[in-house]
Protein backbone atom coordinates (compact mmCIF):
# COMPACT_ATOMS: atom_id res chain seq x y z
CA UNK A 1 0.00 0.00 0.00
CA UNK A 2 2.83 2.39 0.73
CA UNK A 3 4.93 1.99 -2.40
CA UNK A 4 3.40 4.94 -4.17
CA UNK A 5 6.31 7.22 -3.24
CA UNK A 6 8.75 5.03 -5.14
CA UNK A 7 10.31 5.65 -8.55
CA UNK A 8 9.66 8.30 -11.12
CA UNK A 9 6.03 8.28 -12.09
CA UNK A 10 4.81 9.48 -15.43
CA UNK A 11 1.62 11.54 -15.71
CA UNK A 12 -0.70 8.70 -16.58
CA UNK A 13 0.55 6.38 -13.88
CA UNK A 14 0.01 9.04 -11.22
CA UNK A 15 -3.68 8.97 -12.11
CA UNK A 16 -3.62 5.20 -11.77
CA UNK A 17 -2.64 5.55 -8.13
CA UNK A 18 -5.57 7.82 -7.24
CA UNK A 19 -7.90 4.96 -6.16
CA UNK A 20 -5.11 3.64 -3.94
CA UNK A 21 -4.68 7.06 -2.39
CA UNK A 22 -8.38 7.09 -1.56
CA UNK A 23 -8.03 3.70 0.13
CA UNK A 24 -5.07 4.94 2.17
CA UNK A 25 -7.10 8.01 3.15
CA UNK A 26 -9.95 5.75 4.28
CA UNK A 27 -7.57 3.69 6.43
CA UNK A 28 -5.97 6.82 7.89
CA UNK A 29 -9.42 8.21 8.74
CA UNK A 30 -10.23 5.04 10.68
CA UNK A 31 -6.88 5.13 12.49
CA UNK A 32 -7.27 8.79 13.46
CA UNK A 33 -10.75 8.01 14.82
CA UNK A 34 -9.21 5.20 16.87
CA UNK A 35 -6.65 7.63 18.29
CA UNK A 36 -9.43 10.05 19.22
CA UNK A 37 -11.36 7.22 20.83
CA UNK A 38 -8.38 6.37 22.99
CA UNK A 39 -8.02 9.97 24.15
CA UNK A 40 -11.69 9.87 25.17
CA UNK A 41 -11.06 6.61 27.09
CA UNK A 42 -13.80 4.80 25.17
CA UNK A 43 -13.51 1.06 24.57
CA UNK A 44 -13.36 -0.46 21.11
CA UNK A 45 -13.08 -4.11 20.18
CA UNK A 46 -9.80 -4.91 18.45
CA UNK A 47 -11.77 -7.23 16.14
CA UNK A 48 -13.45 -4.22 14.53
CA UNK A 49 -10.09 -2.61 13.83
CA UNK A 50 -8.54 -5.83 12.49
CA UNK A 51 -11.53 -6.41 10.26
CA UNK A 52 -11.48 -2.89 8.86
CA UNK A 53 -7.74 -3.22 8.26
CA UNK A 54 -8.34 -6.43 6.31
CA UNK A 55 -11.09 -4.74 4.34
CA UNK A 56 -8.92 -1.83 3.29
CA UNK A 57 -6.11 -4.28 2.47
CA UNK A 58 -8.42 -6.14 0.09
CA UNK A 59 -9.49 -2.83 -1.45
CA UNK A 60 -5.81 -1.98 -1.88
CA UNK A 61 -5.21 -5.23 -3.78
CA UNK A 62 -8.32 -4.70 -5.92
CA UNK A 63 -7.30 -1.18 -6.88
CA UNK A 64 -3.59 -1.85 -7.35
CA UNK A 65 -2.60 -0.50 -10.80
CA UNK A 66 -1.22 -3.87 -11.91
CA UNK A 67 -4.48 -5.65 -11.12
CA UNK A 68 -6.41 -2.81 -12.75
CA UNK A 69 -4.39 -3.28 -15.95
CA UNK A 70 -4.94 -7.03 -15.93
CA UNK A 71 -8.63 -6.48 -15.25
CA UNK A 72 -8.91 -4.10 -18.17
CA UNK A 73 -8.07 -6.63 -20.88
CA UNK A 74 -8.79 -9.95 -19.18
CA UNK A 75 -12.23 -10.99 -17.91
CA UNK A 76 -10.62 -13.13 -15.21
CA UNK A 77 -8.88 -10.06 -13.84
CA UNK A 78 -12.14 -8.15 -14.03
CA UNK A 79 -13.82 -10.92 -12.05
CA UNK A 80 -11.11 -11.01 -9.37
CA UNK A 81 -11.51 -7.26 -9.00
CA UNK A 82 -15.28 -7.55 -8.84
CA UNK A 83 -15.06 -10.25 -6.17
CA UNK A 84 -12.66 -8.21 -4.06
CA UNK A 85 -14.43 -4.86 -4.42
CA UNK A 86 -18.04 -5.94 -4.30
CA UNK A 87 -18.03 -9.08 -2.18
CA UNK A 88 -15.01 -9.69 0.05
CA UNK A 89 -13.89 -6.20 1.07
CA UNK A 90 -17.39 -4.96 2.04
CA UNK A 91 -17.88 -7.80 4.57
CA UNK A 92 -14.72 -6.86 6.44
CA UNK A 93 -15.34 -3.12 6.16
CA UNK A 94 -18.86 -3.51 7.58
CA UNK A 95 -17.53 -5.66 10.44
CA UNK A 96 -15.19 -2.77 11.21
CA UNK A 97 -18.31 -0.81 12.30
CA UNK A 98 -17.13 2.50 10.79
CA UNK A 99 -20.49 4.25 11.37
CA UNK A 100 -20.44 3.42 15.08
CA UNK A 101 -16.84 4.59 15.29
CA UNK A 102 -17.73 7.83 13.50
CA UNK A 103 -20.67 8.48 15.85
CA UNK A 104 -18.40 8.00 18.85
CA UNK A 105 -15.64 10.30 17.64
CA UNK A 106 -17.22 12.99 15.45
CA UNK A 107 -18.06 16.39 16.99
CA UNK A 108 -21.51 16.24 18.63
CA UNK A 109 -23.15 18.46 16.02
CA UNK A 110 -21.92 16.37 13.11
CA UNK A 111 -22.77 13.14 14.91
CA UNK A 112 -26.34 14.42 15.39
CA UNK A 113 -26.56 15.06 11.68
CA UNK A 114 -25.41 11.50 10.97
CA UNK A 115 -27.98 10.12 13.43
CA UNK A 116 -30.72 12.16 11.75
CA UNK A 117 -29.77 10.61 8.41
CA UNK A 118 -29.76 7.11 9.90
CA UNK A 119 -33.21 7.74 11.36
CA UNK A 120 -34.70 9.10 8.15
CA UNK A 121 -37.24 7.20 6.09
CA UNK A 122 -35.15 7.60 2.95
CA UNK A 123 -32.23 5.87 4.61
CA UNK A 124 -34.46 3.08 5.91
CA UNK A 125 -35.77 2.50 2.39
CA UNK A 126 -32.32 2.65 0.80
CA UNK A 127 -30.73 0.28 3.27
CA UNK A 128 -33.65 -2.16 3.17
CA UNK A 129 -32.35 -5.64 2.24
CA UNK A 130 -34.61 -5.89 -0.81
CA UNK A 131 -33.47 -2.53 -2.21
CA UNK A 132 -29.84 -3.34 -1.43
CA UNK A 133 -30.29 -6.71 -3.17
CA UNK A 134 -31.68 -5.05 -6.30
CA UNK A 135 -28.86 -2.51 -6.39
CA UNK A 136 -26.22 -5.16 -5.78
CA UNK A 137 -27.21 -8.20 -7.84
CA UNK A 138 -29.41 -6.17 -10.22
CA UNK A 139 -26.37 -4.11 -11.20
CA UNK A 140 -24.48 -7.30 -12.07
CA UNK A 141 -27.29 -8.66 -14.23
CA UNK A 142 -27.41 -5.34 -16.10
CA UNK A 143 -23.63 -5.27 -16.53
CA UNK A 144 -23.26 -8.80 -17.92
CA UNK A 145 -26.55 -9.23 -19.77
CA UNK A 146 -26.62 -5.88 -21.60
CA UNK A 147 -23.98 -4.26 -23.84
CA UNK A 148 -22.94 -2.13 -20.84
CA UNK A 149 -19.85 -4.25 -20.18
CA UNK A 150 -18.54 -3.79 -23.73
CA UNK A 151 -19.19 -0.04 -23.60
CA UNK A 152 -17.25 0.17 -20.33
CA UNK A 153 -14.18 -1.26 -22.05
CA UNK A 154 -13.86 1.84 -24.21
CA UNK A 155 -15.04 4.46 -21.68
CA UNK A 156 -12.62 4.83 -18.75
CA UNK A 157 -15.02 7.03 -16.73
CA UNK A 158 -17.73 4.38 -17.01
CA UNK A 159 -15.20 1.82 -15.87
CA UNK A 160 -14.57 3.81 -12.68
CA UNK A 161 -18.30 4.32 -12.05
CA UNK A 162 -18.87 0.57 -12.34
CA UNK A 163 -16.10 -0.13 -9.83
CA UNK A 164 -17.57 2.44 -7.47
CA UNK A 165 -20.99 0.89 -7.89
CA UNK A 166 -19.61 -2.60 -7.13
CA UNK A 167 -18.06 -1.31 -3.92
CA UNK A 168 -20.96 0.87 -2.73
CA UNK A 169 -23.72 -1.58 -3.60
CA UNK A 170 -21.72 -4.45 -2.10
CA UNK A 171 -21.14 -2.42 1.05
CA UNK A 172 -24.80 -1.42 1.31
CA UNK A 173 -25.85 -5.02 0.88
CA UNK A 174 -23.46 -6.37 3.52
CA UNK A 175 -24.44 -3.52 5.83
CA UNK A 176 -28.12 -4.40 5.54
CA UNK A 177 -27.40 -8.11 6.06
CA UNK A 178 -25.05 -7.85 9.05
CA UNK A 179 -27.06 -6.14 11.75
CA UNK A 180 -24.07 -4.60 13.49
CA UNK A 181 -24.42 -0.82 13.41
CA UNK A 182 -27.06 0.96 15.50
CA UNK A 183 -30.17 2.02 13.57
CA UNK A 184 -33.61 2.70 15.10
CA UNK A 185 -35.39 0.07 13.03
CA UNK A 186 -34.15 -2.80 10.95
CA UNK A 187 -36.07 -5.43 9.00
CA UNK A 188 -36.33 -8.70 10.92
CA UNK A 189 -33.94 -11.63 10.80
CA UNK A 190 -36.25 -13.73 8.60
CA UNK A 191 -36.39 -11.04 5.93
CA UNK A 192 -32.62 -10.71 5.96
CA UNK A 193 -32.02 -14.47 5.77
CA UNK A 194 -34.49 -14.80 2.91
CA UNK A 195 -32.87 -11.95 0.96
CA UNK A 196 -29.43 -13.47 1.55
CA UNK A 197 -30.74 -16.78 0.23
CA UNK A 198 -32.03 -15.01 -2.90
CA UNK A 199 -28.70 -13.23 -3.35
CA UNK A 200 -26.72 -16.48 -3.21
CA UNK A 201 -29.10 -18.18 -5.65
CA UNK A 202 -29.12 -15.27 -8.12
CA UNK A 203 -25.34 -14.99 -7.99
CA UNK A 204 -24.89 -18.71 -8.65
CA UNK A 205 -27.49 -18.54 -11.44
CA UNK A 206 -25.81 -15.58 -13.14
CA UNK A 207 -22.37 -17.19 -13.06
CA UNK A 208 -23.76 -20.37 -14.61
CA UNK A 209 -25.54 -18.34 -17.29
CA UNK A 210 -22.23 -16.64 -18.06
CA UNK A 211 -20.53 -20.01 -18.32
CA UNK A 212 -23.25 -21.59 -20.44
CA UNK A 213 -23.98 -18.69 -22.81
CA UNK A 214 -20.54 -17.05 -22.81
CA UNK A 215 -21.73 -13.74 -21.37
CA UNK A 216 -21.10 -10.83 -21.76
CA UNK A 217 -22.04 -11.25 -25.43
CA UNK A 218 -19.74 -9.99 -28.19
CA UNK A 219 -16.96 -9.19 -25.75
CA UNK A 220 -13.38 -9.35 -27.04
CA UNK A 221 -12.56 -12.18 -24.61
CA UNK A 222 -11.88 -15.74 -25.82
CA UNK A 223 -14.33 -18.49 -24.87
CA UNK A 224 -12.00 -20.22 -22.42
CA UNK A 225 -11.36 -16.97 -20.55
CA UNK A 226 -15.09 -16.29 -20.09
CA UNK A 227 -15.60 -19.83 -18.75
CA UNK A 228 -12.70 -19.39 -16.31
CA UNK A 229 -14.09 -16.04 -15.17
CA UNK A 230 -17.56 -17.54 -14.64
CA UNK A 231 -16.05 -20.31 -12.53
CA UNK A 232 -14.12 -17.79 -10.44
CA UNK A 233 -17.39 -15.91 -9.92
CA UNK A 234 -19.22 -19.09 -8.91
CA UNK A 235 -16.73 -20.63 -6.48
CA UNK A 236 -15.13 -17.53 -4.97
CA UNK A 237 -18.49 -15.78 -4.86
CA UNK A 238 -19.71 -18.73 -2.89
CA UNK A 239 -16.93 -18.39 -0.34
CA UNK A 240 -17.76 -14.74 0.19
CA UNK A 241 -21.47 -15.57 0.61
CA UNK A 242 -20.50 -18.22 3.14
CA UNK A 243 -18.51 -15.63 5.10
CA UNK A 244 -21.43 -13.20 4.95
CA UNK A 245 -23.86 -15.89 6.15
CA UNK A 246 -21.54 -16.75 9.05
CA UNK A 247 -21.25 -13.06 9.97
CA UNK A 248 -25.04 -12.65 9.95
CA UNK A 249 -25.65 -15.67 12.18
CA UNK A 250 -22.69 -14.98 14.47
CA UNK A 251 -24.13 -11.56 15.23
CA UNK A 252 -27.56 -13.05 15.85
CA UNK A 253 -25.95 -15.53 18.25
CA UNK A 254 -24.09 -12.80 20.08
CA UNK A 255 -27.08 -10.48 20.37
CA UNK A 256 -29.39 -13.27 21.52
CA UNK A 257 -27.02 -14.03 24.36
CA UNK A 258 -26.91 -10.38 25.37
CA UNK A 259 -30.67 -9.93 25.31
CA UNK A 260 -31.19 -13.18 27.25
CA UNK A 261 -28.76 -12.01 29.92
CA UNK A 262 -30.55 -8.69 30.14
CA UNK A 263 -33.89 -10.43 30.60
CA UNK A 264 -32.55 -12.77 33.28
CA UNK A 265 -30.82 -9.94 35.15
CA UNK A 266 -34.07 -7.95 35.00
CA UNK A 267 -36.10 -10.82 36.36
CA UNK A 268 -33.59 -11.33 39.17
CA UNK A 269 -33.83 -7.69 40.24
Amino acid sequence: MEHHSSHHLSGSSVAEWIPMLLVVTLALGYVSALVKLKSKDLTWSAWHSISFGLGTGLLGIALHPQLMQWAHHDLRGHMVQHLLLGMFAPIFLVLGAPVTLALKTLPVKVARGVTAILRSKVFYLFSHPVVALLLNIGGMYILYLTPLYNVSLTQPWLHYIIHLHFLLAGYLFCWSMIGLEPVPQRPGLRVRIFVLFLNIALHAFLSKLMYAYLLPHNSPHPEEQIREAAKLMYYWGDLSELLLTIALFALWYQKRHRSKNQISSLSVS
Binding site: I193, L196, F197, L198, N199, I200, A201, L202, H203, A204, F205, K208, L209, Y211, A212, K231, Y234, D238, E241, L242, T245, I246, F249, A250, W252, Y253, R256, H257, K260
Partner: protein, 158 residues
Protein backbone atom coordinates in the same frame (compact mmCIF):
# COMPACT_ATOMS: atom_id res chain seq x y z
CA UNK B 1 -31.81 -31.09 37.72
CA UNK B 2 -35.53 -30.84 37.07
CA UNK B 3 -35.34 -27.35 35.63
CA UNK B 4 -32.59 -28.53 33.30
CA UNK B 5 -34.84 -31.30 32.00
CA UNK B 6 -37.64 -28.83 31.34
CA UNK B 7 -35.26 -26.75 29.32
CA UNK B 8 -34.58 -29.54 26.83
CA UNK B 9 -35.98 -29.00 23.40
CA UNK B 10 -36.29 -32.25 21.41
CA UNK B 11 -37.87 -30.94 18.22
CA UNK B 12 -35.51 -27.99 17.82
CA UNK B 13 -32.51 -30.23 18.55
CA UNK B 14 -33.59 -32.47 15.71
CA UNK B 15 -34.36 -29.62 13.32
CA UNK B 16 -30.97 -28.02 13.89
CA UNK B 17 -29.24 -31.37 13.36
CA UNK B 18 -31.21 -31.93 10.17
CA UNK B 19 -30.24 -28.52 8.80
CA UNK B 20 -26.56 -29.34 9.31
CA UNK B 21 -27.04 -32.79 7.76
CA UNK B 22 -28.69 -31.42 4.62
CA UNK B 23 -26.00 -28.78 4.22
CA UNK B 24 -23.11 -31.21 4.81
CA UNK B 25 -24.40 -33.75 2.30
CA UNK B 26 -24.81 -31.05 -0.32
CA UNK B 27 -21.31 -29.80 0.47
CA UNK B 28 -19.87 -33.33 0.18
CA UNK B 29 -21.52 -33.67 -3.22
CA UNK B 30 -20.03 -30.40 -4.40
CA UNK B 31 -16.55 -30.89 -3.04
CA UNK B 32 -15.99 -34.61 -3.68
CA UNK B 33 -17.99 -35.27 -6.85
CA UNK B 34 -17.70 -31.87 -8.56
CA UNK B 35 -14.23 -30.80 -7.52
CA UNK B 36 -12.11 -33.81 -6.60
CA UNK B 37 -13.49 -36.69 -8.67
CA UNK B 38 -14.98 -34.35 -11.32
CA UNK B 39 -17.55 -37.04 -12.15
CA UNK B 40 -20.07 -34.37 -12.88
CA UNK B 41 -19.66 -30.65 -13.34
CA UNK B 42 -21.62 -27.64 -12.31
CA UNK B 43 -22.95 -27.37 -15.83
CA UNK B 44 -23.15 -30.27 -18.26
CA UNK B 45 -24.16 -28.57 -21.49
CA UNK B 46 -27.66 -29.96 -21.67
CA UNK B 47 -29.39 -28.30 -18.75
CA UNK B 48 -31.97 -25.56 -19.29
CA UNK B 49 -32.18 -22.11 -17.69
CA UNK B 50 -34.97 -23.33 -15.39
CA UNK B 51 -32.79 -26.20 -14.20
CA UNK B 52 -29.88 -23.80 -13.61
CA UNK B 53 -32.10 -21.48 -11.58
CA UNK B 54 -33.44 -24.41 -9.53
CA UNK B 55 -29.89 -25.55 -8.99
CA UNK B 56 -28.97 -22.06 -7.77
CA UNK B 57 -31.90 -21.99 -5.34
CA UNK B 58 -30.98 -25.43 -3.98
CA UNK B 59 -27.39 -24.39 -3.60
CA UNK B 60 -28.34 -21.20 -1.73
CA UNK B 61 -30.66 -23.15 0.55
CA UNK B 62 -27.94 -25.65 1.48
CA UNK B 63 -25.41 -22.92 2.22
CA UNK B 64 -27.80 -21.07 4.52
CA UNK B 65 -28.96 -24.38 6.07
CA UNK B 66 -25.50 -25.47 7.14
CA UNK B 67 -24.61 -22.15 8.79
CA UNK B 68 -28.06 -21.67 10.36
CA UNK B 69 -27.98 -25.27 11.66
CA UNK B 70 -24.60 -24.85 13.33
CA UNK B 71 -25.56 -21.62 15.05
CA UNK B 72 -28.91 -23.07 16.19
CA UNK B 73 -27.08 -26.05 17.70
CA UNK B 74 -24.68 -23.71 19.49
CA UNK B 75 -27.58 -21.62 20.75
CA UNK B 76 -29.44 -24.71 22.03
CA UNK B 77 -26.32 -25.95 23.79
CA UNK B 78 -25.75 -22.59 25.43
CA UNK B 79 -29.23 -22.63 26.92
CA UNK B 80 -28.94 -26.32 27.96
CA UNK B 81 -31.74 -27.25 25.56
CA UNK B 82 -29.75 -29.55 23.27
CA UNK B 83 -30.48 -33.29 23.24
CA UNK B 84 -27.50 -34.91 21.57
CA UNK B 85 -29.14 -38.08 20.31
CA UNK B 86 -32.01 -36.10 18.76
CA UNK B 87 -29.54 -33.80 17.02
CA UNK B 88 -27.67 -36.84 15.65
CA UNK B 89 -30.94 -38.40 14.51
CA UNK B 90 -31.80 -35.18 12.72
CA UNK B 91 -28.30 -35.02 11.25
CA UNK B 92 -28.53 -38.51 9.69
CA UNK B 93 -32.11 -37.92 8.52
CA UNK B 94 -30.85 -34.74 6.86
CA UNK B 95 -27.87 -36.52 5.25
CA UNK B 96 -29.97 -39.38 3.91
CA UNK B 97 -32.92 -37.21 2.98
CA UNK B 98 -30.77 -34.92 0.89
CA UNK B 99 -28.87 -37.76 -0.76
CA UNK B 100 -32.15 -39.40 -1.83
CA UNK B 101 -33.62 -36.07 -2.91
CA UNK B 102 -30.50 -35.34 -4.98
CA UNK B 103 -30.51 -38.85 -6.42
CA UNK B 104 -34.17 -38.85 -7.39
CA UNK B 105 -35.26 -35.24 -7.97
CA UNK B 106 -32.02 -33.60 -9.18
CA UNK B 107 -30.65 -36.48 -11.19
CA UNK B 108 -33.79 -38.16 -12.48
CA UNK B 109 -36.67 -35.65 -12.41
CA UNK B 110 -34.94 -32.33 -13.14
CA UNK B 111 -32.03 -34.04 -14.91
CA UNK B 112 -29.62 -31.38 -13.68
CA UNK B 113 -26.73 -33.78 -14.05
CA UNK B 114 -26.04 -37.50 -13.73
CA UNK B 115 -23.83 -39.17 -11.11
CA UNK B 116 -21.24 -40.07 -13.70
CA UNK B 117 -21.17 -39.95 -17.46
CA UNK B 118 -20.74 -43.62 -18.36
CA UNK B 119 -22.63 -46.08 -20.54
CA UNK B 120 -24.12 -48.03 -17.70
CA UNK B 121 -25.46 -45.52 -15.23
CA UNK B 122 -27.64 -47.92 -13.27
CA UNK B 123 -25.02 -49.15 -10.72
CA UNK B 124 -24.08 -45.54 -9.94
CA UNK B 125 -27.70 -44.50 -9.45
CA UNK B 126 -28.41 -47.55 -7.30
CA UNK B 127 -25.29 -46.97 -5.22
CA UNK B 128 -26.07 -43.29 -4.78
CA UNK B 129 -29.63 -43.91 -3.60
CA UNK B 130 -28.69 -46.95 -1.50
CA UNK B 131 -26.25 -44.78 0.48
CA UNK B 132 -29.05 -42.24 0.93
CA UNK B 133 -31.43 -44.90 2.16
CA UNK B 134 -28.84 -46.31 4.56
CA UNK B 135 -28.20 -42.87 6.10
CA UNK B 136 -31.94 -42.30 6.40
CA UNK B 137 -32.34 -45.65 8.22
CA UNK B 138 -29.54 -44.75 10.65
CA UNK B 139 -31.42 -41.53 11.39
CA UNK B 140 -34.68 -43.40 12.00
CA UNK B 141 -32.89 -45.88 14.26
CA UNK B 142 -31.41 -43.05 16.34
CA UNK B 143 -34.80 -41.38 16.54
CA UNK B 144 -36.33 -44.60 17.83
CA UNK B 145 -33.61 -44.86 20.47
CA UNK B 146 -34.19 -41.23 21.48
CA UNK B 147 -37.92 -41.87 21.89
CA UNK B 148 -37.23 -44.97 23.98
CA UNK B 149 -34.88 -43.13 26.31
CA UNK B 150 -37.54 -40.38 26.66
CA UNK B 151 -40.11 -42.99 27.69
CA UNK B 152 -37.69 -44.54 30.17
CA UNK B 153 -36.91 -41.23 31.81
CA UNK B 154 -40.65 -40.44 32.01
CA UNK B 155 -41.38 -43.79 33.68
CA UNK B 156 -38.48 -43.27 36.09
CA UNK B 157 -39.79 -39.83 36.97
CA UNK B 158 -43.29 -41.24 37.50
Amino acid sequence: MNSQKENLNPSRSMQAGALVGIGIMAGVDEIIFHQILAWHHFYDGSTTEVALLTDGLLHAAELVAIVAGFFLLMDLRRSNALINIRAWAGFFLGLGGFQLFDGIVDHKVLRLHQVRYVDNLLPYDLGWNAVGLLLLLIGLFLLKKARQSDKNSVSVAA
